[in-house]
Symmetry: none
DNA sequence: AATGAATGAGAGTTCATTCAT
DNA sequence: AATGAATGAACTCTCATTCAT
């Protein structure tokens, strides 16, 4: 039924080899610049098979998009604990889950990074919807059951949410840029987490009662 | 004297056609994927001329890099008023200058955006220095003569600076994403500025005494 | 294992079409001026295949160099009879073998002619060694077991060797120039061989006791 | 009247600059690979002028062919002393004149060298005739007033002439190949001349009474 | 199911030649 | 007389995709 049935009937290890090879190639080179030749070589399969499984480079890209969105959902979003009513505490926990997911699936998230920079032509309507649903899920994971009364009365809580998120993303981007190129495994992240918590404390001091 | 003398002797309108065509092509496709064929077609010049003017695709890219860095310097950074001692007010003014520069030179800033994502191989050592100098200039434009005593005593001012900048960048990114694809000229930006100021007010409320 | 496995797995007739087309193009135009476009057209293969087989113009050239050096070795040098002690007689036999090889592989020897004129940059270190070994083999084929006592006592035998070789090469060049352009198959070579032998007789009369 | 009148009205030093630049470029790169861009740059003239003077690259090549053939005639062939009746002695003197001409006009003779290797398409019918006349002149310079009685009675004198010329050319080619790439000015040619005379002595011993 | 040979469009670049100035 | 900007064909090489086996 599915176009990719052929691919999904392969044994898992072969699937993984192909997925990882393709994720890496796309993540490192972008869609246009990625080479199907290099993908098949690095996956150890014949040239024809890639097109037998996926029909085209674009179809492969779509498949990988779905694949990585599922990982985001299952290995990141669903793991966020929504019982924590303190917004900043919840963001802290979400950040830890995100960091774990990112280090478990580096190619996946690198791929997603390039995906979101890509002009939307490469993404199908279905996938746009999927992305939007994921964003909705993400929002609920972040905002559900939050105790707004923790915030100072003289500020707009919704705007405070945004400011806190932008601050956190700003910090994460800065660290990512600093660490770019270095092997993740060789870096001691502890001091960065310490610093991150200090920023969160300032946010609490400023925005909470 | 300059390698690009040939280009700079052209009449200005032709120079601009070529620069804009090239900025756009590079901004939309990145260095590797940009097509010199499309550039010459869209600039309305013969195929050989691009290489007569610039010698190579890379030389053209370098030229554009210098060109855009100069614009950033002259039409953005130097226009920031450093007499304002209130950090958030200064960021507000800087934001207005930036918005003006951005709307005056849309391709330029799109190009610079991709430039900074590019692997540094494409940028010459000279240009890296130039970029770093520009960052230093930008820092002084933002931090010189700031009155730290405006901030609450119980927070680290340097960290507060960062939080404020990340917040502002977060807002700007969000608006940019929302407006992406729409013609700038057809959009009434007033409500966005209103909203922006509300965010800035919250930051003042939270971080200032 | 070999880089050119892809090429050598083709059926022989196709290999020959490509080799001959390439030998001819390089022989007629030299390395730089030879056009891979013309080679593929004249070989009747698609534009991409030449680079699929050989990776680059230079790699093709290297392949042809090896190919032709092997022919020189196997269809010329190894066929020279080194039991003949009379130097001039041996050169006579070598000339016949050479003429046969040349008429069997006309493009091959034309290619080699241009190869040796080429600046050495186009030839790899390995191939230079191969060429030198071939020259050594050629020398032994020509000088081993020669009976020096056939020569007059009042002349330096080593210099006589040279004079005889230059004379023979001179004759061969003159005939080649005369026949250039004409179809080999349409020419009766008998009178040339007669004349050649007359020259050899004069050399014997002059240099031998 | 002449197509090249325009060129020949230039003052001599400019003519020489252009001729030398062009001779060098053609000698070093061959006809096809020679670049008119480099010629004009090295001659210090504008791009258009080359085509104003000569109409086309090929016309320039023809002009240089005539120019160099004239030099061969005037600075080489006419200087050969035809009063010497001893063939080998005359060849010896001719060789000295040739060596002088060659060292006085290196680019000229390098150019001629490539010219003669070139497929005849590049040479006009007129020039072929000129070349043939030059060869006739050369022949008379070499064979007129020669005393055939110096040769042994048991060999064909005409064939001996050829053998001697091939021998001499063989020696010269060998030395040229050995010296290729080295600066002529830095080489002491004396030992080569000594060796050359030894070869000539052997030829006398062998072919003369 | 699987291979890899085959295709032709398009990439960046160089070139001889023309022509407005 | 003189310049050099302009052209477009041809260059080597890479690519996604197809198809005979």
């Amino acid at each position: 039924m599915d176009i990719t049935k052929k691919f999904e009937n392969l044994d898992d290890s072969k699937q993984q080899r192909i997925i990882n090879a393709a994720l890496k190639e796309f993540a490192e080179n972008g869609y246009e610049q990625a080479s199907t030749n290099r993908i098949v070589k690095s996956a150890g399969i014949g040239k024809g098979m890639l097109f037998y499984y996926f029909k085209s480079k674009k179809a492969l890209y779509h498949y990988l998009t779905d694949y990585t969105l599922d990982i985001v959902k299952n290995e990141y979003l669903t793991l966020i604990d929504t019982t924590e009513p303190d917004f900043i505490e919840r963001m802290k926990q979400a950040s830890r889950v995100k960091a774990k997911a990112l280090s478990d699936n580096p190619d996946t998230f690198n791929f997603l990074g390039t995906l979101l920079l890509t002009s939307e032509e490469e993404v199908s309507a279905d996938q746009l919807k999927k992305i939007q649903e994921l964003q909705k899920l993400g929002n609920s994971k972040i905002y559900d059951n939050i105790d707004n009364t923790l915030f100072r009365a003289d500020i707009d809580v919704d705007k405070a949410f945004k400011l806190i998120r932008w601050s956190i993303e700003g910090y994460q981007n800065e660290i990512s840029a600093q660490l770019a190129g270095r092997k993740m495994s060789s870096v001691d992240l502890h001091p960065y987490w310490e610093e991150f918590y200090e920023y969160l404390d300032i946010l609490k001091t400023s925005f909470y009662k």
